[in-house]
C-alpha cells in the first residue's frame, strides 16, 4: 500500500476550491511579445525541425503542431518561424505570476501559461468567485493580456478542465470564465473522454474494458481501481471523481538576485563607473552568498543616456566575486570584443542579472586547500584585469584550408562559441587542401609579403590553368632584403576557398627550402606572394 494514498482519507476529502488561470498558446504570446510581432502574424515555433506551437493565423492556414517545418512553410507562405525557447516562456510568464500575486496570495505555477490560485480567500475578500475572477481579468488586461481564461471548480484538475471548457463555448469573446458550483465537479467531468487524464496506457486499457468517459470510470469502486491499476490508476480515479487530492501549493516569491545601479548624472569615464559600481557589485555577490548561491554566468546590460543598450553574457571559469563583476562591466565598456559596439554617451544605468547560479556548497574550498587549477585561474584573472578580457587566450584547432584559419583563440573563461566549435570527429577528417607532413611551427597571423623570381629575375606566376610560368630560383621575404636561392620546392597546390561565394579566394600554395636549410610555406594570390608559415 502506498503511503501517499493512505495519507489521504479515502473518498471523503473535499477537493480544494481552485481557480485555474489559463493563457492559451502562451509560447506564441511570449514569442510575439519578445520579437515585437503583430498579434495577427502567422508564427510557428519550431523545436527540432517540427512545429511546436503556432499562432491562430497560422492555424487558419492549416499549420498544426508536429508538422515538419517545410510542410508548414508550404501551407502558410507568410509564416514566420522561430526556434522554440522554453526559458523565454518562463521568463515572460514571471511578470504575470507576480501581478496575480499582488492581488491574491497563494499562486502556484503549473507550467508557463497555466497557474492555480487558492480561491477561498480571494472570493471572500472580493465578495464572490466571479468578482475575484473579474479582478484578475482587470489586472491582466492592464498588462495587455486579454485572452485569458479562468475556470473555478473543486480541485486543480476540474478547474483546468473548466478553464479549457471556455474554448468550446459559442462566444469565447464574452465568456472567458467558467464556474462549476461547489460539489458539481463530478457531474461536470463525467461527460469528458478519458484522454483528458493524459495517461495513454490507462486510457487504452479502460477503453478495452468498455469504459469511455470519466463518469464511467468514476462509477467504479475506488478500492477495485486501486487493486487493479495501482497508485497511478487510483490517483486518476480520484481526479475523475472530482476528488482531486492535490492541493495548491503556493510558491514563495523568489528573492531578487539581480541588481540595478542608476547613475545621475550619467558617468562618462570607465574608471568613474568602476569605482561607483564597486559597492553595488559587492552587494550583488553578498545577496547571492546569503541565498547560498554563487553565480557562474551573468548578463550585463549597460544603458546610456541616449537610450543605447549594450548587452553581453559573461561566463566565469569558477564563480564571480565583486571584483570580477566590476571587471566584466569594465571590459564590456572597453569593447574588447568584436560583438560590442561603441557607446556614444554617458552610462546612466547598469543592470546585472545572474544567468547561471549554483549551490555554494558545490564550490566550497576543500579542507586541504584547493586544487592547483585555482591558482592558475587567479593568476590569469590578474593578467586579464591588466590587459583586458581578450588578451589571455586558450586555443583550439578548428577546420579551415589556410593555417591561420585553423587556429581559433578563445578568451580565458569563455566557452568555445558555437561556430568555432568543431566536433572532434570532424576535426580529424581530412580537409581539402590539408597540408601533408609536419606542421610549420610559425604561422603568421598577418601574412608577410614575399617575392619569388625565376633564374632570370622575372616574377614567378601561375596562370588560370594552374601552370607555373617558370621554376622558382630565388625568393625574398618582407622581413629581410636578402635574396635567398631556392634549394628545393614543390607546388603549386591550388586552394579554392568557397568557389560559390564571390568573396571566396583562389590561392596556390608552395613549399620552399632555401640554401640555409630552412623551409617556408608561400601563398600566391592574385599575382602577389605571401609567406603563410615558416618551418623554423
Amino acid at each position: 500500500m502506498s503511503p501517499t494514498l493512505s495519507a489521504v482519507p479515502a473518498g471523503t476529502a473535499p477537493a480544494t476550491r481552485t481557480m485555474m488561470l489559463w493563457c492559451p498558446d502562451w509560447p506564441i504570446t511570449a514569442a510575439l511579445r519578445e520579437h515585437a510581432l503583430p498579434a495577427d502574424a502567422a508564427l510557428a515555433l519550431v523545436d527540432r525541425g517540427e512545429v511546436f506551437a503556432c499562432s491562430p493565423a497560422a492555424r487558419q492556414d492549416g499549420v498544426r503542431r508536429g508538422l515538419r517545418i517545410r510542410e508548414a512553410q508550404a501551407r502558410s507562405t507568410g509564416l514566420v518561424s522561430l526556434p522554440y525557447d522554453p526559458s523565454l516562456d518562463e521568463r515572460t510568464f514571471e511578470p504575470v505570476t507576480a501581478a496575480v500575486e499582488t492581488i491574491m496570495p497563494g499562486v502556484q505555477v503549473i507550467r508557463p501559461g497555466l497557474c492555480a490560485v487558492l480561491v477561498k480567500g480571494p472570493s471572500r475578500y472580493y465578495g464572490g468567485e466571479d468578482k475575484a475572477a473579474d479582478v484578475v481579468f482587470g489586472t491582466l488586461a492592464a498588462m495587455g493580456l486579454t485572452d485569458v481564461r479562468i475556470g473555478i471548480a473543486d480541485g486543480p484538475f476540474a478547474a483546468e478542465q473548466a478553464a479549457k471548457a471556455t474554448d468550446q463555448l459559442e462566444d469565447p469573446e464574452a465568456e472567458q470564465l467558467v464556474i462549476i458550483p461547489r460539489g458539481s465537479s463530478p457531474m461536470f467531468l463525467s461527460s469528458y473522454p478519458l484522454e483528458v487524464l493524459e495517461l495513454p496506457k490507462l486510457t487504452v486499457l479502460l477503453k478495452r474494458l468498455g469504459i469511455r468517459s470519466l463518469g464511467d470510470f468514476a462509477a467504479l469502486k475506488a478500492s477495485d481501481v486501486r487493486n487493479r491499476f495501482g497508485l497511478e490508476g487510483a490517483i486518476a480515479h480520484r481526479q475523475a471523481s472530482g476528488l482531486d487530492h492535490r492541493n495548491v501549493v503556493a510558491r514563495t516569491p523568489p528573492p531578487q538576485l539581480d541588481t540595478v545601479a542608476d547613475f545621475e548624472p550619467p558617468l562618462a569615464r570607465i574608471d568613474q563607473l568602476a569605482f561607483a559600481f564597486r559597492t553595488r557589485a559587492g552587494e550583488f555577490v553578498d545577496t547571492l552568498r546569503e541565498a547560498g548561491l554563487v553565480c557562474t554566468a551573468l548578463h550585463v546590460s549597460l544603458h546610456t543616456e541616449s537610450g543605447e543598450v549594450s548587452e553581453r553574457r559573461w561566463q566565469h571559469p569558477r564563480w564571480f566575486d565583486a571584483d570580477d563583476v566590476v571587471d566584466r562591466v569594465r571590459w564590456q565598456l572597453q569593447g574588447t570584443q568584436a560583438s560590442d559596439h561603441g557607446l556614444t554617451s554617458g552610462i546612466s544605468r547598469v543592470h546585472i542579472v545572474p544567468d547561471i547560479v549554483e549551490d555554494l556548497a558545490d564550490h566550497a574550498d576543500g579542507l586541504w586547500g584547493t586544487g592547483p587549477d585555482e591558482g592558475i585561474h587567479h593568476g590569469l584573472a590578474r593578467v586579464q584585469s591588466m590587459l583586458g578580457h581578450g588578451a589571455v587566450l586558450t586555443a583550439i584547432i578548428a577546420g579551415g584550408r589556410l593555417l591561420a584559419d585553423r587556429r581559433v583563440f578563445i578568451p580565458w573563461g569563455d566557452a568555445p562559441s558555437s561556430p568555432a566549435k568543431v566536433p572532434v570527429k570532424d576535426r580529424d577528417q581530412p580537409w581539402p587542401g590539408r597540408l601533408p607532413g609536419p606542421a610549420p611551427a610559425t604561422v603568421f597571423a598577418d601574412p608577410v609579403p614575399a617575392a619569388v623570381v625565376d633564374s632570370s629575375g622575372n616574377p614567378v606566376d601561375v596562370d588560370s590553368r594552374g601552370l607555373l610560368s617558370a621554376d622558382p630560383a630565388f625568393f625574398s621575404t618582407g622581413s629581410d632584403d636578402g635574396r635567398r636561392p631556392v634549394h628545393s620546392w614543390a607546388g603549386p597546390w591550388p586552394i579554392n576557398e568557397r568557389w560559390w561565394d564571390p568573396k571566396g579566394r583562389v590561392l596556390n600554395r608552395f613549399q620552399l627550402v632555401d640554401q640555409s636549410g630552412s623551409a617556408w610555406l608561400l601563398l600566391l594570390e592574385n599575382h602577389s606572394w605571401w609567406v603563410e608559415a615558416s618551418y623554423d
Binding site: 588578451a391 584547432i397 610549420p440 636549410g517 618551418y535
Partner: protein
Amino acid sequence: MTPPAAGSALEWDEPSSDLEDASRPNFLGRQGTPAADARLDLQARINSMQASKLDSRRMPTVPALARILPGGGLQSGGSYAVRNSTTLAMALLAGPSATGAWCSVIGMPDFSVEAAQGFGINLDRLILVPDPGSQWLTVTAALVDVVSIVLTRAPEHLAPTEWARLKARLRQRGAALVTLGAWKQSDSTLGVAESAWEGLGSGSGHLRARRMKITATQPSGRLRHAYVGLTDLQGTAADDVAFHNSPGPQGLPSGTAPATTPGTLFEPQLMKSS
C-alpha cells in the same frame, strides 16, 4: 644526479672552431693570462659549481634534448634561450606539458598551436598572451607565478635588477623560462646549427622529415651538440621516464662520440644555418 666530472666533460666538448669559442673559458688554465681573464675563469668556475647544487629539481624533458641540456634536462628555475627555432622551443615545452604542466606563450602571435599539438603540448593547458604590450615583465612575472614553463620572445632590454628579480621568482616558483631569440642573460642557449629537409624535390614531393644539428651551451660556456630528427623532439607522456636517467655512456649524444661517423651520415645533406 651530479654533473659530469671536469675530465669527462672535456671529452664532450665540441672540437670545433665555433663562433662561441672566443667566449668559452679555458679550463686547462692559461699560462700568463692577465688578471681579468683569471677572474673570469674563476667566476665561470664558481658558476658551474653553483649550478651543480641546483639540479635536484628537474622537469620532464624530451630525451633528445635532455642529453645535451646542462644538468640532463630542463631545470626548475632555469632560463633557456632558443636562438633561431620555434620548433626547438616547442620541443622544450613538450616534455613538461605531456606530464600535465601548464605552459604559457607570451608575445608570440605567430605561434602555431597546431604544430604545438603535434609536439604533444596539451592545448587545454596552454595559455597564450599574444600581445602583452608594454607590460611584458609584469605579465611574464604573473605567469611565472602560476605556470610551470613560460615561452616568450626575448625582451628588447631588461635591466639587470629586473632580471635578477625575475630570476629569483623563477627559482622560488620552480618555473622555467624559455626565450626565443638570442639572450645573453639566460643560463644556456640552444640553437639549430644545421638543418636538412627530406622529401622535397624541385617541383615535386612535400616536406616529410627534418634532420637537425642542435647545439646547447653549458653554463660554463662549453658547447654540446646532437643530431636529431623532428620526430625525436616530439614529447609523449611515456617519455617522462627517460629524463631521470643520468647521461651515462648510453646517454652520449649521438653525434659527439668519436667512434661513430656522423659526418658520413649527415654531412652531405646538411647546410649551414643562418
